[in-house]
Symmetry: C2
């Protein structure tokens, strides 16, 4: 199992505070004899009558020496996880959880914003001090 | 500049043998103040009357300890490079160059094949011993 991101518990606490129930830590996806370990699986009841909403969350701190390299790795994981989720659990929506600093430094800049938009990557922006979700994008 | 893949010269020689002129080693793409280093840029004259065909080639040996991890990294780089090429040099087509062993072990299996197909990744399959191109896919 891969090492946990330094913001693993921060993101987990922020989701719980937002009313999500953590159902998988990690969420294991299996396809064609390969296992994938997405950081978290979570559920939220939409209403007593309806089904619950299900998400998968990959947490990324972007603390490597190269921002471009970190972004390439995050995009690769996100795309591969989304590809597999489409096959094995279509109703579960994949999010990339990042800090507000990463959002400002990487995804608000031209390069990161282009990559985000072109690949329709969904973000959860977290305040790591308050351990709270600031924004779901889009 | 990132370290060269162990098959860098092998892939380069295979392209030259196939009639390509290596124009960039590496091919540097710039967008929003960030530089990307794609392994090779190459050109081939289609006919004396016409423009030349232009490609960008990222070479991947897939020799890491985790096949899934290697694949995620390769997909991330490929997608980001393709995103940027669409903006800065739309006519240049991006290929991922791999050995016939990687093609058999990774991309012919269910998992790798799904990722390949879903993301429309174009491959050049190389015989590293003969330093020759075996196949362009598709």
């Amino acid at each position: 199992m891969p090492a946990k991101d330094i913001y693993h518990n921060t993101a987990k606490n922020a989701l719980i505070k937002d009313g999500w129930q953590i159902t998988n830590d990690p969420l294991i996806l299996e396809y064609g004899g390969k296992d994938l370990f997405v950081d978290l699986g979570a559920e939220k009841l939409i209403s007593a009558e309806k089904d619950s909403e299900k998400i998968a969350v990959e947490i990324k701190s972007f603390i490597g020496t190269s921002q471009v390299n970190d972004l390439e790795k995050a995009v690769g994981q996100y795309i591969v996880y989304r590809n597999i989720l489409e096959e094995v659990e279509k109703e579960r929506i994949l999010y990339l959880a990042i800090t507000k600093k990463s959002f400002k430094d990487i995804f608000s800049e031209a390069f990161g914003n282009l990559i985000l938009t072109k690949n329709k990557i969904l973000l959860i922006v977290i305040d790591p001090q308050k351990q709270e979700i600031l924004q779901w994008i889009p």
